[in-house]
């Protein structure tokens, strides 16, 4: 039995990729849960807004690269990120003014907002494709690895190698910073508390002198920030294809619902839960098993599901949670 090699293989193929993916889902789910709690609908345009923000960031990154500006070992995209966030914030504020505000003034039923967001999704979808095309784009530069496989093997003397890509470490670090900042904002600042008050009781917030339209604008701006950051991190880690951002909507929704819609802590936990399940279920465990049980010769790859079916994992988690604990792991608003 070779526990060390098994552990390294597990870290390399399951833990690290799942942690990075989980962080990206957590950021996405935070945005979804914020909009659900405050604007009171599930935003179907979330994935495609992420794609738009990422596309703008990529364009600015290319511009910076052609000017010879870079961040050294860090990806240039980090420098372009504020531009992407600003452009996305303007876009969602414009969308709110053009679409959602009308329904808000009518006091329309929340389901109408959901349907409107589906329409917005298609528009954003087209907008992103017009802007940057449908092809795959890679825009990560700077140092590629923090720990390279060869260096790790030489250092540890193990057969199994371990790689930690800089984008993976960056994803986790940025997510931790963003989450800490968001929680501080919501729990400690006057504007953050006003947002929670509006989420609790719209009319009473208004009767306390809180301007509801200001809360709505603030929510969109923060959501735009979360969406763009999540999208750029996902694009850096994997690659950018507009269609992938449409598809990622499902695991993001699953994460938000699993954690408890409207609950930020739940969104983060849900993101990691969905990511770890997805990776664990689609990973061929034969290698890890080979180290742990050298005498066992399994017939197959010990892979529960092919990677093509990874979205099924989100679906199953979603259905199980909705059946047995509809409020999510952490009590959300959907009681």
């Amino acid at each position: 039995m070779d526990i060390l090699n098994a552990l390294v293989a597990f870290l390399n193929f399951v833990f690290i990729p799942a942690a990075a993916y989980g962080a990206q889902l957590a950021l996405g789910a935070l945005g979804v849960t914020l909009i659900y709690a405050i604007l009171r609908f599930s935003n179907f345009a979330h994935g495609d807004t992420m794609a738009f923000g990422t596309a703008i960031t990529i364009l600015v990154t290319w511009g910076l690269q052609s000017l010879g500006i870079s961040l050294g070992p860090l990806p240039t995209a980090l420098l372009a990120l504020p531009f992407g966030i600003a452009a996305t914030a303007l876009l969602v504020l414009g969308t709110d003014r053009a679409v959602y505000r009308f329904y808000r003034a009518q006091k329309a039923a929340p389901i109408i907002f959901v349907m409107a967001s589906v329409g917005v999704m298609f528009v954003m979808n087209g907008l992103t494709r017009l802007l940057i095309g449908v092809d795959e784009q890679r825009f990560d530069d700077g140092a590629r690895f923090i720990i390279a496989v060869r260096d790790f093997r030489e250092w540890s003397g193990l057969v199994e190698g371990l790689a930690l890509r800089s984008t993976q470490a960056l994803t986790v670090v940025v997510t931790v910073i963003v989450c800490a900042a968001l929680f501080w904002f919501l729990n400690r600042t006057k504007s953050g508390k006003a947002m929670r008050a509006y989420s609790d009781n719209e009319d009473l917030a208004l009767l306390s002198g809180i301007d509801p339209e200001r809360v709505v604008r603030l929510t969109w701006i923060i959501a735009a920030g979360l969406m763009t950051i999540a999208g750029v991190l996902y694009g850096l880690d994997k690659s950018f294809r507009p269609f992938n951002y449409f598809q990622i909507l499902l695991p993001i929704f699953a994460a938000a619902i699993v954690g408890g819609l409207g609950n930020p802590v739940g969104a983060i936990a849900g993101g990691f839960l969905v990511a770890f399940s997805e990776v664990a279920v689609t990973y061929p465990w034969v290698k890890v098993a080979g180290y742990l049980f050298p005498d066992w010769q399994p017939g197959g790859l010990l892979q529960l599901l092919g990677t093509e079916y990874k979205f099924a994992v989100s679906f199953v988690i979603l259905i199980v949670v909705l059946l047995f604990r509809p409020t999510g792991l952490f009590r959300g608003k959907s009681v």
Binding site: A109, P110, A197, L207, P212
Partner: protein, 277 residues
């Protein structure tokens, strides 16, 4: 609630995995305020005069209804169910469309202001239900009451805690976990945090036990004696009239009787119809 609900029967709005109807508002927050005009000479401190109107595009509920409160006094609105008591209160607060009449506060005509600007103009309102932020702590509820203030709110908060010692002990607890009476105290406290120049209470004693009710009335009297005019809607007509400097009896959205609480208690017709003999 809204017109759509009536048409679609709330279809699709029960799926809480896509929509969040909790805490949904009924007041249009997108409406902008119109100009503030000069009030009339010799007005009471707050007056809603000849108010006629209803919710949205619906039929009129109020008909030439007039409600006023003077400085340092308590005015109560009483009447049978469906008389438009709460509606009159909401009309004064700008929550329904007035087709006729005006609302004037402290020498200004504020008829065109939206509710959030009326708060800034000095009106404090405690709704009958949903009058706290349930997931926020008692202290955060009070902080939200003081949202429009830029100065130090700690003194006002201490005053509120002095007025309601029962909730002071629970300041770190979520307001939604408190008992009915304590919630009402938090609700009144939240409105006081704004340091309003007039306090409007919509059935503050609805759904609380008689003992708690007496205590709440005591507190309301204390607030009014402190110089803050109080306008309130009450279903317990007898108790309300006992503490009222001025009482309005509404019937079908119109003024039926007006006078001091004492006068109305002596009025045979009022006694017979509302006070049960």
């Amino acid at each position: 609630m809204s017109d759509q609900d009536a048409v679609f029967g709330k279809r699709g709005n029960r799926d809480l995995s896509v929509v969040n109807p909790n805490g949904r508002g009924t007041i249009d927050g997108t409406r902008r305020s119109g100009p503030v005009r000069q009030g009339h000479a010799g007005d009471p401190f707050l007056i809603g005069e000849n108010m006629t109107g209803g919710y949205g595009k619906g039929a009129d509920i109020l008909h030439d209804c007039t409600i006023a409160v003077e400085r340092g006094q308590i005015a109560v609105i009483v009447g049978p169910n469906g008389a438009g008591k709460s509606t009159a209160m909401k009309a004064i607060f700008g929550m329904l469309n007035l087709r006729k009449g005006s609302v004037r506060l402290d020498g200004r005509d504020i008829t065109a202001l939206n509710p959030q600007d009326r708060v800034k103009a000095g009106m404090g309102f405690v709704p009958q239900v949903n009058n706290i932020f349930p997931s926020m702590t008692v202290e955060e509820n009070l902080e939200m009451g003081a949202f429009i203030r830029k100065d130090d709110i700690r003194r006002t908060m201490e005053q509120v805690y002095d007025l309601f010692p029962a909730v002071a002990a629970k300041r770190r607890q979520a307001a939604g976990e408190l008992s009915g009476g304590q919630r009402q105290q938090v609700a009144v406290g939240r409105a006081l945090m704004t340091q309003p120049s007039v306090l409007m209470l919509d059935e503050p004693t609805a759904g609380v036990s008689p003992i708690v009710m007496d205590e709440l009335f005591d507190r309301i009297i204390a607030i009014a004696r402190g110089g803050l005019p109080v306008l309130m809607v009450e279903q317990n007509a007898k108790q309300a009239m006992m503490i009222a400097d001025k009482a309005y009896v509404l019937v079908q959205g119109a003024n039926a009787h007006t006078g001091t609480g004492h006068e109305l208690m002596q009025n045979d017709e009022v006694r017979r119809t509302f006070l049960g003999g």
